[in-house]
Amino acid sequence: MITQVYGKKGPSAFHRYDPRAKIVLLLAFLSLFFLPIPVGRLGAYLAVVLLVTGVFLGILNILRPIRLILPILILVVLLTPPFHRYGPVLVSIRGFSLLSVPGLMETLRLIVRFTGITVLFYLFLGTTDQENLILAFRWFGLPFTFSLILGIALEYIPTILILYSQVQDAHRLRRADAEPVSEQAHPAGRTPAGGGRSRGEAKGLFRRLAGAIPVLTSVIVLSVRRIPTLAMALETRGVGRKNRRGSYRSLKSGRSLLIDGMIALAVVAALSGSVVLFH
């Protein structure tokens, strides 16, 4: 299920922090996790990210993204050492190296990297609302057309979700009407894709997929039929014309942007300095 993870206008300073500066910080920390620096220092950077997340989003919001990626982290722990069996051996069974020092370091590096990236995105998206995010991308040079596509797509996702749900229900009702009375007494189960089961259980992945095709066809046809109306609305709004474009909303400028920008640059400088100094 799509969940709206965009932060609404929250109380913390980080919620109000300029999204352009947040993008700079996000990119700086992301690139940091891919640098060939010692695992211990990477762990320190991860601790900073976790601390900031805990302060601005709450302690529980540190655990939430980590809980979601726990299965992947377990896979990393199990599957990374076999590909790094060289070097000093830590654990071996009958001469077969299970865990070596480089394997352990690489496992820890990947865990820190993936956890750091996950929490960074969680922090970024949890404290930035959708409109400001698109305006920030525009400020960085995303063409107006692409930002328009992005904005309209985000607005239409709930519409198409509702459409999908309605079409699913309509198809289910149609199948229920077509079934004999004896089968209606024991209604068949349903699959999430809306490929309802008419006689007995629908077995097999591809049979379920085949059952979903009518629903998907209806959803696509109904979606595509909205395009001309939307296009007319956009033309009325002036999309496609060459004259100078106005803007309904814009990001803050002036003193607050200067302060937020300087904070971001200071953090980036501190990170760069820490990487270079302790190299």
């Binding site: 896979l75 599957l79 990236i117 239409y156 894709a193 959803v219 696509i220 046809v221 595509v224 296009a231």
Partner: protein, 184 residues
């Protein structure tokens, strides 16, 4: 592709293209996030994002598939708890749609409704791009071992994508013939 003059003018309109791409992007995002087929043995789910990408490639062309596939799947990742995969999805699924759309456009059938072998070739190329892309991206994020474990799932995902996209494309063209004129 032969179209009536009025129809081709519609598709050349910037406003129409923006509307088309926005709707297709939203459809791809919904197919990726919401429309799922359960896999009984693993109690997991397959999403139908690849169905949407291949359908867009076969019906609307390579540019539509590039944008709708890349941005749609990235949006689905951003709106789910797995936003860290969004940059990789943007790149990989965008390329998948582009490659599949370019190959599927080769015969340039006038009506665009008939199944042809280039669709299969397009799907094979799209599968290769998607699996290689996620293997490379996954290696960067979580290491080679876990990324390799995801490979069979990605192959199955693409098989489902092709198996769904071909009948879906034919069904949509039969149900709504004007869709054939929206290709650009």
């Amino acid at each position: 592709m032969k179209t009536e003059k009025g129809s081709s003018r519609i598709v050349e309109s910037p406003a129409f293209r923006v509307a088309l791409l926005a709707i297709l992007t939203a459809v791809t995002a919904v197919f990726t996030s919401v429309v799922k087929i359960p896999i009984a043995p693993t109690k997991g789910y397959l999403n139908l994002g690849d169905v949407a990408i291949y359908f867009t490639a076969f019906t609307f062309g390579p540019v539509s598939a590039l944008i709708a596939g890349g941005v749609g799947t990235a949006l689905a990742d951003v709106l789910s708890p797995y936003a860290q995969w969004a940059p990789i999805s943007l790149l990989v699924h965008g390329l998948q749609g582009l490659v599949a759309g370019l190959i599927a456009a080769v015969p340039l059938r006038s009506k665009g409704r008939g199944f042809n072998l280039f669709w299969l070739a397009a799907a094979a190329a799209g599968t290769a791009v998607m699996c290689a892309g996620y293997l490379a991206g996954g290696t960067l994020m979580v290491g080679f071992g876990p990324a390799l474990v995801e490979l069979p799932g990605n192959l199955l995902q693409n098989l489902v994508g092709v198996s769904g996209a071909i009948p879906l494309t034919i069904a949509v063209h039969r149900a709504y013939p004007p869709v054939a004129k929206l290709r650009w």
